[in-house]
Amino acid sequence: MSDYLWDKSGEPEAEVERLEELLGSLRHRPRMLELPSEAVPLETRRPRLFSTTRLFDTSRRLGPAWVAVAATLLLAFLLGASVFLRTRLTNGDERAASGDARQSQPTTTQGTTHQTSAPTSQEPVRGENKTDAENKAEAGAGLKRDENDTVKNVSVKNDAVKNDTVKNVAVENIAVKDFTPGRRRSVRLASIPNQQKLMTATAKGARVNEREAVEAMSAANRGSAPALIESTRLLAKEQLVYALRLTGSKLRQVRRKTQGSEDSKSGLDERERIK
């Protein structure tokens, strides 16, 4: 092995020297590198997903992608907060409703006992109404006593009338909360049989103004808003069921009549044929 071909050491080889001399004319001639002024070394390394330098780079952070991400996060947070608040509110209402229902149970039982014992049972109710009316009147921006008295009298009379109406309709154990005007007014019926009684009474023609009845019920007992909403729903449902039943029975009657006439007609035809 010649060392000259490898590292130019030792005795030079004639063939290699000649080739070097011949091909040396084609050797690289130094020339100035001409880089365009706009040429810039690009930093095109593979982007890392969780690179800290990338994360804290302000130029990237202020880019449109970052703005979009921030807006999305903000939107998601707002949505989440609204959902959380709603659920919390509804849960609070349910809790309040359950709590009110528990509280209202003993009062309803009291109500039954009172109503079974007829006229005496109305006195405490009226008394409550009175105080309520008084409170309302007093809270109504400091009216004079005369006016308060008249209000009292009027409210007492109204309550008496309402309670009488309720009695006529034979509604028992009705817990109602009367709200200030503008708020929801709802009714909670303690039991479905009572509602049915109310419905039957209404159907029979004892025209009870529902609103008045509700107000009367509010005078009788007080319940919480969600429970009353629920009872109102039940009442509406019962009304619907009753209306459907009524319509069904009417239809049945009509059908019977029409079938009867047809039967009678067909019977006549058959008789005529037989004849």
């Binding site: 070097e20 020339r31 590198l33 880089l35 070394p41 690009l42």
Partner: protein
Amino acid sequence: MFKVETSQLLFAERGRSEAEVQTPEAALVESARAGDREAFARLHDMYAPLVHGVLLARVRYDEVSDLVQDVFLTAFRKLGHLRDAERFGPWVSMIARNRAVDFYRRARETEELHEEFAQGTGREAEASEALEIIRGLPEAYRETLVLRLVEGMTGPEIAVRTGLQPASVRVNLHRGMKLLRARLGMKDGKL
């Protein structure tokens, strides 16, 4: 205590060796990455013969000069792709090889010019003829031979610049030279 001292010594030794290992080329690459054009110009001066030789093993002589410029421009733009600054030579060699392939894809119609160049002056014609024979050798030999005979590099230099193993370069040189001798003897009989 002894362990700590030993590890500290090892650590210090490693740090020193790492600092020593970084070649001036690597430092120039880092500077060039930061946008230092002077550093890249120095890299160009150092590696232009290598790129020239790599291209000359594949492309005609009169085209090589412009292609060298192209290769270094591409290298400057893509310097961020280079992971190991120590391996600038192998990296730029690969760019040159790819550029040569790309050149033949685009410009096949210039073959006639090559023939005209071959019919130039006697010395140039002889040189280009010898180069043509080298180009006819297997790829592993022709690049090494051009770098040795045309660019005047030694075997160890070729190994360092191209990133090949010195043993491989040595083998390529000797086998390539043997083939070249045979082909030149068959063709001319003078060499």
